[in-house]
């Protein structure tokens, strides 16, 4: 009898649910956020759903960045794709080449009739996701840039003045020696080594990472990060690793655990590390701009972004695109953006959101949070600092990681390792060119 009741309830509820769905058009949104970021996205979605009753956005977590992209691709092949898919910046070239699978944000906004002004977005952020003929392909959502995090207590413990000038690597090099001699076991660690110490390094010093304007100019691009500037930097870091001044923790953001636990004095990591560091660090910290080598290239130029953007997939009804457009428009409104920027440390994607944050006094109360914004917008981007658009880039990063590990372990010198990474990466670029 009991079994029967339960069965009837299940049957009843499944029969009923389609009726509920008729009232509102559902918009599927797949993202890669967990923890605090996941909660914040859920709150944004709930807020949007409450603000109108025509559409209902359903947000689903699909794993980390790579897994989310894979889920989207697999779903597209099966004809089950979501309306909105979050793709990290590394997957940008993959998505752009899939002309039949994605619909540009510019087009979606036209369909939806939502308010949309491409010029409202910050240039360096927008440039990454805009085609050469000015069509905005995806909506920048969470964008960050690398900065230098400082554990002030660790400086004091090692007898080094925490207010020392750390704007150049020359200075940082000396400070690392002082920190080590002062007893620090981990003077410097990093997250995302390829992103920070090669991709951003190249943009910041205005030297090419790849030919054809870092891939913006066409698929026949070749890697170029084995130039003298990059080799000198990696070589210096290799020496620091050997001398116990640089501690390598892993390919992603494993080093974050060491920094937040107070073990490391300096940490190069995304500005979006803010939420985690603020929550966990039991020490006095501050944020400095990413260091540069004085006299190398045109440093300091500007740094580039990491993070993800939202892509709208093809193959849905017009009414659904209208909803997707409205949701994207809601996400980029300046209130939502300003709040997001202040909660997470991600960059504001519109100038209006940055202004609203400044006007609210957030930067004065939270010193250092503006560093990332200033660092990214300090100069008009050049061909070398606009961003990267390279196919198979997730795999190329894997290759770079392997070769850099060889340098940190002392198995290869910087020149050999970077030459090898370029050679192996170029093969993947040629395959990508053949496939698209």
């Amino acid at each position: 009898m009991k079994k029967f009741t339960v069965g009837a309830l299940i049957a009843g509820s499944t029969a009923l649910s389609p009726f509920a769905a008729y009232a509102e058009t559902e918009i599927q949104f797949w993202h890669a956020f967990t923890g605090r970021l996941g909660e914040l996205v859920a709150a944004q979605v709930e807020d949007f759903n409450a603000s109108q009753d025509e559409f209902k956005v359903v947000a689903t977590h699909k794993g980390n960045y790579s897994e989310t992209l894979n889920a989207g691709i697999a779903a597209f092949r099966a004809g089950e794709q979501p309306h909105i898919l979050m793709v990290f910046e590394v997957g940008t070239a993959t998505m752009m080449s899939a002309a039949g699978a994605v619909r540009s944000v510019t087009k979606v906004m036209e369909t939806s009739g939502a308010e949309f002004d491409p010029d409202a977005y910050i240039g360096a952020v927008k440039g990454y996701y805009t085609s050469t003929d000015g069509e905005m392909l995806s909506l920048p959502f969470n964008a960050s840039t690398p900065v230098l995090w400082v554990n002030r207590d660790a400086f004091k413990a090692a007898g080094v003045d925490p207010d020392t000038d750390l704007s150049t690597w020359q200075n940082v090099g000396e400070v690392l020696t002082q920190l080590r001699d002062g007893g620090s076991e981990c003077p410097l660690t990093t997250a995302w080594q390829s992103w920070i110490h090669l991709e951003n390094f190249s943009a910041y010093h205005d030297v090419p990472f790849a030919t054809q304007d870092n891939g913006f100019g066409g698929l026949n691009t070749e890697l170029a990060f084995n130039g003298p500037e990059q080799v000198a930097h990696i070589s210096a870091m290799g020496e620091w690793a050997r001398d116990g001044k640089f501690f390598y923790a892993g390919r992603r953001n494993e080093g974050g655990a060491n920094f937040r636990a107070g073990e490391c004095a300096l940490f190069t990591e995304s500005s979006a590390g803010y939420a985690g560091i603020k929550a966990e660090a039991g020490f006095d910290f501050d944020v400095r701009p990413l260091p540069y080598w004085e006299g190398v290239g045109n440093a300091p130029q500007n740094t580039i972004i990491g993070g993800a953007s939202l892509w709208v997939m093809e193959g849905h009804e017009d009414a659904e695109y209208k909803g997707a457009g409205q949701f994207l428009s809601y996400l980029s409104s300046s209130d939502v953006q300003a709040q997001w920027h202040q909660d997470t440390g991600y960059l504001p994607i519109t100038s209006a959101a940055a202004d609203a944050t400044r006007a609210a006094g957030f930067y004065d109360e939270n010193l250092g949070t503006e560093v990332a914004v200033l660092q990214m917008t300090r100069n008009e981007p050049t061909a070398n600092s606009k961003g990267l658009r390279l196919g198979s880039f997730d795999q190329i990063r894997g290759i770079i990681d392997e070769e850099l590990e060889a340098v940190w372990a002392g198995d290869k010198d910087a020149q050999t390792a970077l030459d090898s990474a370029v050679k192996r990466g170029d093969q993947l670029l040629r395959r990508f060119e053949a496939a698209n």
């Binding site: 894979n70 002309a99 993947l428 053949a434």
Partner: protein, 293 residues
């Protein structure tokens, strides 16, 4: 003089083998055929276009020194996993076989690790050997050994081998234990009366009688090391550092599902298919001859 059963007509035997043939066709021949077909193309990730390249994918792979090294890595890894999971299992089974009291509890405890999924096992071992918070790496540090599997390839290999073999010991234990129980006591008692010590009895009687089980486990464990360990590798090292733990099947996964390079991934599956086929034929041809049933 074998005893043969013969059927009258074709219908009944066909019906009897149909399920097996059908299952093999749907779950093995069809996907394998697909893999061979796909290995001739470079498709784009979304399946919107395909570029025919003939044997280009194979040329690309075989000219890559890292891919060639991956064969050696796979051989070393499989051999170590097989050894590290079979030898301790045999030892534990022999010891458990001599137990009289508490044998049930002991057995159950030994079988438990098998219930842990490979990826979870990977995470557990990773915790113990984490360079920062790991218990084992901390003790090693106290002894003056600086454990760092993030940069040291041999340590990384050691760790993935142990993590892969650990859960497998239980599985092997079960089979060895059952086989030991099946050896008639009278044979061993007779040898004991003749004055053979434990080790003598073990080498000359027990081990040869266990050979069918050992052979079966050898095949099964090598296949396990080849195909099912990638969860462990993914969670612990992701194939690094410098590809020192990238075994063939892990590369299939990472190129296909992380790198979206489905052509190369398919070509690798085909190569893997050939390798495992050859290995199995070799095992049955040459090693099985030494097995006494």
């Amino acid at each position: 003089m074998e005893k043969r059963v013969t059927f009258k007509g074709w219908l009944l035997p066909l019906c009897l083998i149909a399920p097996q043939v059908l299952v093999s066709a749907i779950f093995f021949f069809y996907p394998a055929g697909q893999a061979i077909w796909q290995s001739l193309f470079i498709p784009d990730p979304f399946g919107l276009s395909m570029q025919y390249v003939g044997l280009g994918n194979f040329e690309y792979l075989l000219s890559d020194p890292y891919y060639r090294t991956s064969f050696l890595t796979t051989a070393v890894f499989s051999l170590l996993v097989t050894l590290c999971s079979m030898v301790p299992a045999l030892f534990l089974a022999v010891v458990a076989d001599r137990l009289i009291k508490g044998a049930g509890v002991y057995r159950t405890m030994l079988i438990w690790p098998y219930a842990v999924a490979p990826a979870i096992a990977g995470v557990l071992w990773l915790f113990m050997f984490n360079t920062r918070v790991g218990v084992v790496s901390w003790y090693l540090g106290q002894l003056g050994y600086d454990w760092n599997h993030v940069l040291n390839g041999s340590e990384a290999m050691g760790l993935v081998v142990v993590a892969s073999a650990w859960g497998r010991i239980s599985y092997n234990f079960l089979f060895f234990f059952a086989a030991l129980q099946a050896i008639p006591k009278s044979v061993i008692e007779a040898a004991a009366i003749d004055g053979a010590r434990f080790w003598k009895r073990f080498w000359t009687i027990v081990l040869p009688l266990l050979s069918p089980t050992t052979f079966f486990l050898l095949v099964v464990n090598i296949v396990y090391a080849f195909f099912e360990t990638f969860g462990v590798i993914h969670t612990i090292t992701s194939g690094g550092p410098q590809q020192s733990t990238t075994i063939l099947v892990y590369k299939v996964f990472s190129d296909g599902f992380v790198g979206q390079d489905l052509g190369s991934s398919a070509a690798q599956s085909v190569i893997l298919l050939v390798v495992v086929g050859a290995l199995t034929i070799f095992q049955f041809k040459f090693i099985e001859r030494r097995v006494h049933y």
